[in-house]
Amino acid sequence: MFKFESLDALKHQQLRVMPCQLMDRKNQVHLIDIFPAEIALLAQELPLFFNKDSETGQFNLITLMGLTIDENLLIENSQWCGRYLPLKFQAQPFYLLPAELEQSSPQENKQDSTLMNIVIDRADDRVQELSGEKLFNDGVPSEYLKNRIKILKQITEGYTELDSLTAFYLENELIEPLTLDITLNNKQKLSITGLYTIHRALLTEKIEQQDKSMPDSVFQQTQLNSLANQTRAYLNMAKHILDSQVHVKRLIELKNKLCEVS
């Protein structure tokens, strides 16, 4: 499981971390949270969906990486074989935790980052003292560590941006539930439930509306610009999420290959 420790220049001066591209056991998950800033990139290669947080019922944006629980088809020989590695993987083995909650599971990142404590997971296979990036050089945080902290910050901001994004989609009733029913080459049937995507017809309608409402006077433009830009960006992201569904095919192909081998 996890074994969290607050960062400590003295205690952790010898620690090294192998590159995050190298995957740990805990990366064996079939989905991971992603953030608005990652949509455009990830949608090029993986299917994106919404799902609901089982604790809060709120929508998260996720990328699907496997077709059964704890299956990550994007890992090959312990390496990530996608082009882009999701932020939450990039940040590992570092996490933000509420200051007093160091031993629990990583319910991280959802709160104000100022109240958060950066911790390292000592149970992560990539954390050792022989090879990889050092955390501290002579007691000073390394470039590597600074970059991880930056990523953690992006994740915190990402959740805030995600809240606005999902609020916009919900307000416009653009989210709809979806079940993936898949039959593999070996006739095995899979059904993945609890996923949500964008309602195609309503999105098209919304985009058309948006195009028509282009402001014509310069005055109006400056007034409406930022709002309209925001809307446009959100609608674009919705389009990416919707179109990314084609990549479910990629997962099925990977899964079929896996079944042939075993």
Partner: protein, 519 residues
């Protein structure tokens, strides 16, 4: 005077008034041109009755139609989930005697006859637990859904337990702020009517003068100001059938703040009535309803106090006991001229099976769906409405009486009197004979939308061990097979649900900070 219906005036701001206002106003929420205006008058001098904490699953549809956010409603009205009623000591009065009337229909209800299969089978477990997972969920104090379920969607069918006072306040705010209902806080002192037609033209108030309208909805509670007092429509008493006519209600704190909250209404039979016990998130609502012919108020209070003691309530002398007496009965007519009564003003029987608010919902929906544009059509509508609601009330009378009739208790005069021939409506007598030889079926009832379906009768009859004397098997091999399959499904479901669903208290706690999504 124009014949067009433009102004609807609702007299009374209890649950009935606001549910009617909200249902009528929501009907035209989306349309920009409202066909009529709605005004609700509520007296600051006359308090609402403030009891009525149990509802039916219909309430989900009613609130949804009104555009209410379910999670906000749950937070603000101190709501808990209700998955049915547990009847204790109703069968023989023995300590361990109980049965459930769950809100889920039996699995396979529409495809085969589960009741017959159960009656003719080994009956290893109760009827309700053989055909539905809900009894197990209730016994384990498990919620009927998860935080990831969409709002108003059920995994196991559910209704609500509510704080009646907070509910009226909540509906009031929603109706005024979001649905454009006009609100007048004033006492009505006089009813003005047209001499020729007899139609009500306006209600005179103390401060706001005359409030005119084309249709008046009488939600003035037991006073029944318009239908009862103005139109002098008599109340048909049902006391000869349903003896309960008094209530002592009390609100009590939980023994400890984290005890499990029962997701059902607990009803425990007593010597001369029964006690309801409803668990809200922060307190219990408890009441003893009894027959004043069989028991004095003082004796009834003692019974209630004893129940409180036995169920872990301390500092009983600090609690406020609220005594309510009522006349179980139904108005001879509900709709007269341009006035229709909804709620206590139309009638009230007793709290058993929480049928009062569901009748309010049905009446409000009927008015809203069928309201004609002109007064010309009103007499026809009134006739339909009166027939339909008399039918509904009569079915409720039968169904409530069944609870007393099916009991084997003879340990007090109250229970013995309930078996008296003269106290049983003919319609129920006929059904009871029929059900000696066949299970209750949808064919036994006329309407598409019955208040209580045949399934409810099955749950009560078989819960109370009133099995048919002779029952021929009428099921084909395929239907038998299906019934067996449905029973297996129930077992699987029970295991699955009890494992996957959160406890009732856990879900209510999550709802304090989080909300169901609309989808």
């Amino acid at each position: 005077m124009s014949e067009e219906i433009k102004n609807i005036v609702i007299l009374g701001g209890g649950s009935a008034g606001w549910l009617t206002a909200g249902t009528l106003a929501a009907k035209h929420r989306q349309t920009s041109k409202k066909p009529y205006a709605i005004t609700l008058i509520e007296s600051p001098e006359v308090k609402i009755i403030g009891v009525g904490e149990g509802t039916w699953p219909t309430m989900r549809g009613t609130l949804k139609t009104m555009g209410i956010n379910e999670s906000a409603f749950i937070r603000e009205c101190d709501v808990s989930f209700k998955q049915g009623a547990k009847f204790v000591k109703w069968i023989t009065g023995a300590e361990d005697d109980f049965y459930y009337h769950p809100l889920e229909l039996p699995n396979g209800y529409f495809d085969t006859n589960m009741a017959q299969s159960w009656c003719n089978g080994a009956r290893e477990s109760s009827f309700s637990s053989t055909v539905s997972a809900q009894e197990a969920l209730c016994e384990a104090a498990i919620a009927p859904k998860m935080i990831t379920s969409p709002e108003y969607a059920a995994i196991a069918n559910y209704a609500y337990h509510i704080d009646a006072g907070k509910f009226a306040q909540f509906l009031k705010r929603h109706c005024i702020e979001n649905l454009g209902v006009n609100y007048i806080s004033d006492h009505v002192t006089h009813v003005n009517s047209d001499e020729k037609t007899g139609d009500i033209t306006a209600l005179t108030t103390k401060q706001n003068g005359d409030v005119e309208g084309d249709l008046f909805v009488d939600c003035s509670g037991a006073k029944s100001l318009l239908i009862g007092q103005h139109y002098q429509v008599p109340l048909t008493s049902k006391k000869d059938v349903l003896f309960i006519d008094n209530a002592i209600a009390v609100q009590a704190p939980y023994a400890t703040p984290d005890v499990e909250i029962p997701p059902y209404t607990l009803s425990t039979a007593q010597k001369s009535g029964w006690i309801w016990d409803i668990g809200l998130p922060t307190r219990r609502g408890i009441g003893h309803v009894f027959s004043s012919q069989h028991c004095s108020v003082e004796e009834a209070k003692q019974t209630l106090i004893q129940y409180l003691e036995e169920t872990g309530v301390s500092k009983i002398d600090e609690l406020r006991f609220n005594h309510i007496d009522f006349n179980p009965g139904i108005r001879e007519q509900f709709w007269v001229n341009n006035c229709v009564a909804v709620g206590m003003s139309a009638g009230f029987l007793e709290p058993l099976e929480a049928s009062a608010l569901v009748m309010v919902e049905l009446a409000a929906a009927a008015i809203s769906e069928q309201l004609p544009a002109s007064k010309m059509a009103m007499p026809i509508l009134a006739k339909q409405f009166n027939e339909k609601f008399h039918y509904n009330w009569d079915r409720i009378v039968d169904f409530l009486k069944l609870h007393y009739l099916a009991s084997q208790r003879t340990d007090s005069q109250f229970w013995r009197d309930n078996q008296q021939e003269s106290s049983i409506p003919d319609s129920l007598k006929a059904l009871m004979i029929l059900w000696q030889h066949r299970t209750p079926s949808e064919f036994d009832f006329k309407q598409k939308r019955e208040v209580f379906s045949a399934a409810s009768y099955q749950y009560v009859l078989y819960g109370m061990q009133q099995l048919p004397q002779t029952l021929h098997s009428t099921l084909s091999a395929k239907e038998k097979q299906l019934a067996k399959q449905c029973m297996d499904d129930t077992k699987r479901q029970t295991a699955q649900y009890t494992q996957a669903l959160p406890t009732h208290r856990a879900l209510l706690k999550t709802l304090q900070n989080h909300s169901f999504q609309a989808i």
